[in-house]
Symmetry: C2
Subunit: 434 residues, 2 copies
């Protein structure tokens, strides 16, 4: 990996997400050599991916170059690659661009979409954890409409503009709301020769309420907002399969759709080489103690979505979202320095600042530890919290400008079909009448 | 193509570039049915592609959804497809999504990169005519640097950061200048472990001056600006081949480079089915009369880069740039209405507003018909002309905001590796020392 030797101990951080960036900032110029590894050269602000997917924002405004974050840091290196395995015996990581020895290893690989082992669903549905995936969803939505205007067969046409979102968590809810607004504000005007009322947005939730990690009050409010926007909500329904056209469920309910977006579950983006005893089954998260130290290892740590710190209040680990990741990253940064100087580390305590979700213009729900509210004020709170969480002044300014423009003009100009990867077509056309 | 029958005569426009959009606007609600066809669902503002390629702007800010342009137009349709052939016998076009009858056909397919028949250069070099191509160039530049930091072999490393631009026209010159600024402002800071002085920008021009379509004064000024920025200019040198590593030329000069960007020539993006007598050999442009009527056809027209109106002042047709395309599009819009109402059409006269090129911050050259100037004032003129030529208020605002930010901070935050198409790696890595 061509990292120079240094008198400083080497900390290797795998992953430049919220957790990885947070600890990097804490380790700035602290007489440690840091090597930050990510498979992208940018940090992704995941909470706004759904707006990239629905054309409200450009990818560039929610991505930030990792090398710019660490530009001024001494003895600090970034490497663009994927880690294949950890060799704990020899204290090294094995990556696509070679091996690297570590004195301290920090695993911050985050989470990935969980299809619960169903390969056919995985093959046929879209997921939305990265920017390329979001751009693919954006393109697919628009390509479906471009194809729908060509089709005379009503069943085929309706399948193309029937969008099924599996999973009633924040991602599914925010995406459903954004699609509903896209339908009225954009698609109706862009495709006058289509009967827009045939466009369906179906949100499928396996439990008895959407946003079931939030307060009941927020679930009820969000559900009302979505219904008003024309989203169909199906509760207590579990999707059992999707062959690319037909979605079958645990009930006798089925859907005929060309587009399934799967937000029904996440699991740790696990890495090979760790002792199986240190892993949580199914969830693929890594068991850590209150110092984020991986069970069974002295110098290996895990932070953010990938780790599971099983304490009384959170028996299955902290919620897999930005706040625990950021807080764990910051604390571990300080703790590593303590550890290196043989001082005692501080145990992690999660400061729950609450959670929120936006459904559409003037519509959001916010849960504070002791107070829940929804509507336009919640929406403003949501906007400003997200705006100020973005890295970089320019991203803040561009996102703000886009939001103001979209708000005033009910518009989303990012409706461009620019695919990061090649398109697979839903149907191919033969010669048509003149 | 599923276009409803209409009492209005049907005008089919192939291409949504400057010419195609200009005529579309003129045909708005004029009792003609219009079908606008493009292979992208957006209009591309090509003059700023080089800024997308160098991370100064996001793709979305120089692209505009075609369906939004025609949103309010009556009896006006957009179709996303590629036209394979024109069947002039039966007055129909044959496309990937079926055939379509036309009463009047307008060919506005623009131009594509001209490799003068050298397949090996075509296979190994990058071209910059579309947004996906620009994003690929951006990614390749950054990927080269990410790989360069890993390589110990100096020859290999230098080849990765040696950028060869073939063609000293506006595109080559603007790209060379942008790369030179990227070198100092970004790459030097982002890759401290690389010796940035080893990064080369070579601009190769076959004739005896760069910008040879502009005034001699401007050529000299642009050349000085580029040299000051550290660009190496090679004049009277023709590239004869490029195998992916070695560029051979008409002289004994050779270059060892992983990245060749080819801007040395354009040719018409021709379409099959027209009588060969109506085509210009080599250039692949379509011969038209002063009404942009294709030689030998009553109801087929060609506008913009694709057409060649050979008049005394422009024996080889008008320059292949935005202005002639826009002016021809506007006039043909009016002429078609005249033709339909059996009125006499107006002959095209090109109003040359001059031409300009930017080299870097505060550096540009402007040729007005009777006056040439360069430097900071020219640069401001260039900026505002381009800003106001962009379609859409939001694009103007976002581009302006980006320019102000980049100007103040000497920055380009769009340095993100997000490929529209899959990456082909320059070298693959085996295990490396620890």
């Amino acid at each position: 990996m061509n990292i120079p030797n240094s008198k400083n101990p080497r900390v290797v951080i795998i992953g430049g997400g919220f957790a990885g960036i947070a600890i990097s900032k804490k380790l700035r110029n602290k007489n440690v050599q840091v090597v930050l590894i990510d498979k992208h050269n940018y940090h992704t602000f995941q909470p706004l991916l759904y707006q990239v997917a629905t054309g409200g924002l450009e990818a560039g405004s929610i991505a930030y170059p990792i090398r710019k974050v660490i530009q001024e840091y001494k003895d600090f290196y970034f490497r663009l690659t994927t880690v294949k395995e950890i060799d704990t015996e020899n204290q090294k990581i094995i990556s696509e661009i070679g091996d690297l020895h570590y004195d301290y290893l920090v695993i911050a690989t985050g989470s990935k979409t969980n299809y619960f082992g169903n390969k056919e669903i995985e093959r046929n549905s879209m997921s939305m954890k990265t920017i390329p995936q979001s751009l693919n969803i954006r393109s697919l939505i628009l390509e479906n409409f471009e194809q729908a205007v060509l089709i005379k067969d009503e069943t085929e046409r309706n399948a193309l503009i029937n969008f099924v979102l599996v999973g009633g968590g924040p991602t599914g809810v925010e995406l459903a709301g954004a699609l509903a607004e896209m339908k009225r504000a954009i698609l109706q005007k862009d495709y006058p020769d289509l009967d827009i009322d045939k466009m369906q947005i179906n949100l499928i939730q396996s439990s008895d309420r959407i946003l079931n990690t939030m307060s009941e009050k927020s679930s009820i409010a969000a559900e009302k907002f979505l219904l008003d926007l024309g989203v169909k909500i199906w509760k207590n329904v579990r999707v059992t399969n999707y062959d690319g056209r037909i979605i079958s469920t645990s009930t006798d309910l089925t859907f005929d759709s060309a587009t399934v977006i799967w937000t029904a579950g996440v699991q740790g983006a696990k890495i090979n080489g760790l002792d199986s005893k240190s892993l949580v089954e199914k969830a693929d998260r890594i068991l850590v103690n209150q110092y984020n130290q991986v069970k069974g290892y002295e110098n290996i740590f895990a932070i953010g979505d990938i780790c599971s710190m099983e304490i009384e209040k959170y028996p299955k680990g902290h919620p897999m979202m930005a706040q625990p990741a950021i807080q764990q990253g910051k604390l571990l940064g300080e703790n590593l320095i303590k550890l290196i100087h043989k001082k005692t580390m501080k145990a992690f305590e999660y400061n729950d600042k609450g959670s929120m979700a936006t459904i559409g213009r003037n519509l959001a729900v916010v849960d504070l530890p002791h107070y829940h509210f929804s509507g336009i004020f919640a929406w403003f709170v949501w906007m400003f919290v997200h705006l100020f969480s973005l890295i970089g002044f320019k991203n803040k300014a561009v996102v703000f400008l886009n939001w103001v423009y979209n708000y005033i003009w009910f518009d989303r100009e990012g409706r461009l079909i620019i695919r990061p990867f090649k398109k697979k077509s839903f149907i191919t056309f033969t010669s048509d009448e003149v």
